[in-house]
Amino acid sequence: MLFPTLAFHGFFILVFCCNWLLRRAGDWRLIMLLVASWIFYGWFDARFVALLLLSAMLNWGAARLIVAQPGRRARLWLIAGVWANLAILGFFKYYDFFLHGVNSALAGAGLGIGLKTLDVILPVGVSFFTFQGISYVVDVWKGRSEPARLLELTFLMSFFPHLVAGPIVRPGHILPQLRERPWLSRGAAATSLVLILWGLVKKTVIANELGVHLVDPVFNHPSGHSAGDLILAAYGYSIQIYCDFSAYSDMAIGLAGLLGFRFPANFNQPYRASSLQDFWRRWHISLSSWLRDYLYIGVLGGSRQTLLRTCLALFGTMLLGGLWHGASVNFLIWGALHGAMLVGERLWGLARPAGLPKAPVWLGRLYTFHLVTVAWVFFRAKTFGEATDFLGRIGHGQQGAFIALPWTVGMIALGLACQFGPPDAIQRLGRRLRAMPFWAVGLLVTLVLLVVEGLRGAGVAPFIYFQF
């Protein structure tokens, strides 16, 4: 079930009513939301609801054992819990990729034996809910979160707004909210509505239009297009992926907000970042902070070690962050590019002569945006060769068709303009909405939805991040 569909609209209205009717019903409200989340998830593939439940039970069991047996045994249960999550992720996401690699190596060595691949179906959102499971067992072990009841943990991992594409919510942020009676202020409701509407516009208008009319045709057939088209398609993909993914996050935060839950921000105008480090503080914040806390600091030692080890930790974190997106060499390259540039920025920060004037902010933004855009080419292309070929054609100034029209270029400009508006634009609009009577808000919401319906053409493509 996709957010921008009529089926979801009906589903959400029903869940909204039940949620607030059960406001004082304690666990029954959570049970209702849990069942609703399973229906939502089962819409994609009902078989994986059992996987979701199994994953929650594993993490709940591991945390219980950690709390029950403090000391060295707790550490063993922590390791077992983390590995159980990684095993689920590894099997569904990387098993076939790994076997293809082994088979290629065997064939290269002249051995005719090939291991059989299983054509494993990737459960939607598996990367998100396994990361949530890992953060739960680690946080319980570190004492950052109280142990949850099975119902609470299953709910935390299954709650439909964030289930398939994040944000990755921390147990310590959400569990206390489950234990309090929900409430909804007018400001929170208004800001939630603004987030949902703005998310719809970004996804169904900007991202869809760019994908259908520019990015997909050019990336699918780069040899038939001019260098101008290729450059615009690369810019277009930068905007498309931002509008697609941030739209999902905005809608997830807004939908959760209308149900009385506060989710953390996941994007903060990432293309106005003036360095790559700044970019990662603004892009997919819940994943980058997860990688920082649980991998970079938690496993690889962070920055309180020798410079060489710090750089290796940084590079390794980004490499694994790339691999998290999917079993493909291209995602590894994408992660490696980001890792190398982050290391480069760190070293430059240390080696930079003291008297050297600071580069203007606009130059930093230009550099960061273009660096990120080049890395997105590796993210979007199907193979490494396809990505280098794409960039090579730009470098050679290839002649060919030019399909970019003012409409699609306008969408790129609109996507970029969002980055440079007031950072609190959503809250400002929320305040304006809050001051309006309910009927005016209802009619305004209708008008926006009608305009979106007219603009969105035929249907809505799935969100890009569903595949991760």
Binding site: L6, A7, H9, C17, W20, R24, D139, G143, R144, S145, E146, R170, G172, H173, P176, Q177, R179, E180, R181, W183, L184, S185, R186, G187, A188, A189, T191, S192, L193, L195, E209, H213, I253, G254, G257, R262, F263, P264, A265, L405, P406, W407, I426, Q427, G430, R431, R434, F438, W439, V441, G442, L443, V445, T446, L450, V451, E453, G454, L455, G459
Partner: protein
């Protein structure tokens, strides 16, 4: 131990609604009330009516969409699997779409659709000449 999401960390948090120390002046405190609700900035106008306001706005919007967005209803019905149960739903949705068209209720979506089609095809000024 992390006790909940700090105020301001969620995009739906408004600064003036931040929980304070003693903002709740109601003498009949509800024991089931959570910490944030208890300390919320209730003096902000209209804050207490958030749920009613949101529910009413959504009700107005849903009814208005039923009347004015028969496109979406017809598209949804057309994608339903063909069964004995879905047939009357599809017929009803199509009939309503046709009736809404006759009544001029589809005008907003039709106009936006036509404008979007024209804008998608609009060439660069140089090519136009």
């Amino acid at each position: 131990m992390i006790h909940g999401l700090p105020w301001g960390a969620s995009p739906i948090d408004l600064a003036e609604e931040a929980p304070g120390e003693v903002k709740f002046l109601d003498t009949e405190l509800d024991p089931a009330m959570g910490a944030l609700e208890r300390m919320a900035g209730w003096q902000v106008p209209g804050m207490r009516s958030g749920l009613r306001w949101a529910a009413q706005a959504m009700a107005v919007s849903t009814l208005a969409l039923l009347a004015l967005n028969s496109h979406a209803l017809a598209n949804w019905a057309d994608q339903l699997p063909v069964t004995r149960l879905s047939e009357p739903v599809v017929a009803l949705a199509d009939d309503w779409h046709a009736a809404a068209g006759r009544l001029g209720l589809n005008a907003v979506v039709d106009h936006v659709e036509a404008a979007a089609t024209a804008m998608r095809k609009a060439p660069w000024p140089k090519a136009h000449r």
